[in-house]
């Protein structure tokens, strides 16, 4: 465990404990409870936690456009996630989930996945959230209610979440010492791949991301075409199975939601 202290170029080792505990203390104060949420203190602590974690994780940041947009999108996603967990009104929480989706879609774009960005927005923000809001409006309960104004074990839940994120971040930080070699290995493979002759329908695999002059993958526009080739080449059976699964899920949803006999009225 002590070896983590001197591990790597990413200087967040045990320092992440501070902002993580601040942020989850904020979540604890913000979770709905019958005697009222501590909105002011909780949101201050939560924002401090996110900002501190970002400062630690990003380290000595050189402000270029990519890192700035990364900061904005990840901040939006984390803030939306905090709102989703803590807002008392479920309809507002569902709308906070849309904010999370938009932030994550921006991060997808930064990670060279333009098609997934669009698909994520369409499927989640367009389809899933709309149907969930529909059910929420059908089952509208007046606040305060048992379902929305109480939390189960808020303290234990927050300790659990903080422990989870601490363990994951420490594992990443420990591994970050080996990241340079990782990156070098990737660049070596990428350069080999660019030297290979390019056939119109070459085998999709090792390195399909477009590279810039430095041999580092840039954000490619034709990733979508390569994604299609991957899907319908190596994963064709899985695509067919997914289609079958969608049909089965549709039939199952209809069968489950059907009103049977003298059930209660909705």
């Amino acid at each position: 465990m002590l070896g983590m202290m001197e591990a790597g170029a990413y200087p967040w080792s045990w320092w992440v404990l501070g902002p993580i505990s601040l942020g989850f203390l904020g979540i604890y104060l913000l979770l709905p409870r019958p005697d009222g949420q501590r909105t002011a203190t909780g949101s201050l602590l939560g924002v401090l936690g996110i900002a501190g974690l970002m400062a630690l994780v990003l380290g000595g940041v050189i402000a270029n456009v990519e890192s700035l947009t990364f900061c904005v999108f990840s901040g939006v996603a984390c803030l939306g996630a905090g709102f989703l967990v803590t807002l008392e009104n479920p309809a507002r929480a569902a709308l906070a989930f849309v904010v999370v989706i938009l932030g994550v879609a921006g991060l997808f774009l930064l990670a060279a996945a333009p098609f997934l960005m669009g698909a994520n927005i369409i499927v989640y923000a367009g389809a899933i959230i709309v149907t969930f809001l529909f059910v929420l409006m059908l089952a509208q309960q007046h606040l305060p209610s048992d379902a929305d104004s109480r939390s189960r074990e808020p303290l234990l839940a927050c300790i659990c979440g903080a422990g989870s994120v601490l363990i994951i971040l420490l594992a990443i930080g420990e591994d970050a010492g080996r990241t340079e070699s990782y990156q070098e290995g990737f660049e070596a493979r990428a350069l080999v791949a660019t030297r290979a002759p390019v056939a119109p329908f070459r085998r999709v695999g090792e390195s399909d991301l477009r590279l810039n002059q430095g041999g580092v993958p840039a954000m490619p526009a034709d990733n979508t075409a390569f994604l299609g080739a991957t899907l319908y080449g190596r994963h064709l059976v899985a695509v067919e199975l997914a289609a079958v699964l969608l049909v089965v899920a549709t039939l199952g949803a209809i069968a489950v939601a059907q009103r049977t006999g003298a059930g209660g009225a909705l």
Binding site: G36, G82, E153, C160, A238
Partner: protein, 142 residues
């Protein structure tokens, strides 16, 4: 750092995943619990996409596409189940279903009373349609 690297993406997805975990454990509304699970799925999807980018290999993105498919199926089925549950207990509170636990676990009861609903302003009383409201006579007639 010149541009975001793999550990930064992983850190963001760790935060998203843990917030979803907290929401799933702590909240009691069935729909918010489901949305928290979707939040955890988003964290995992971000992991896959980041690895796809930094390994230079599109299989991660293909996996996220299948993950979207599964999420759509899951949402349809979860909505049908939540609807059926709402019909039987007429509430979205998950604690109403604690009789599904093992028998030797004791039931959790809520001790603190709920706060009173905030008083809403009364709706304005309008006259019935079709009857003209009494108007004061205008004093100066020509």
């Amino acid at each position: 750092m010149v541009s975001p690297d793999l550990p930064h993406f992983l850190a963001v997805s760790a935060v998203l995943f843990s917030l979803g975990l907290v929401g799933f454990i702590a909240r009691r509304n069935l729909i918010i619990m489901f949305l928290s699970v979707e939040l955890m799925v988003q964290g995992v999807a971000l992991n896959f996409v980041a690895f796809a980018r930094f390994r230079g290999n599109l299989d991660g993105q293909a996996f996220v596409l299948f993950l979207l498919t599964i999420a759509a199926c899951e949402a349809a089925l979860a909505l049908a189940l939540i609807l059926a549950m709402y019909r039987t207990r007429s509430s979205l509170d998950v604690s109403l279903w604690q009789d599904l636990r093992e028998e030797d676990l004791e039931q959790v009861t809520d001790d603190e009373p709920l706060p009173l609903a905030p008083a809403t302003a009364p709706l304005p009383q309008l006259p019935l349609a079709g009857i003209a409201p009494a108007k004061p006579e205008e004093p100066n007639r020509v």
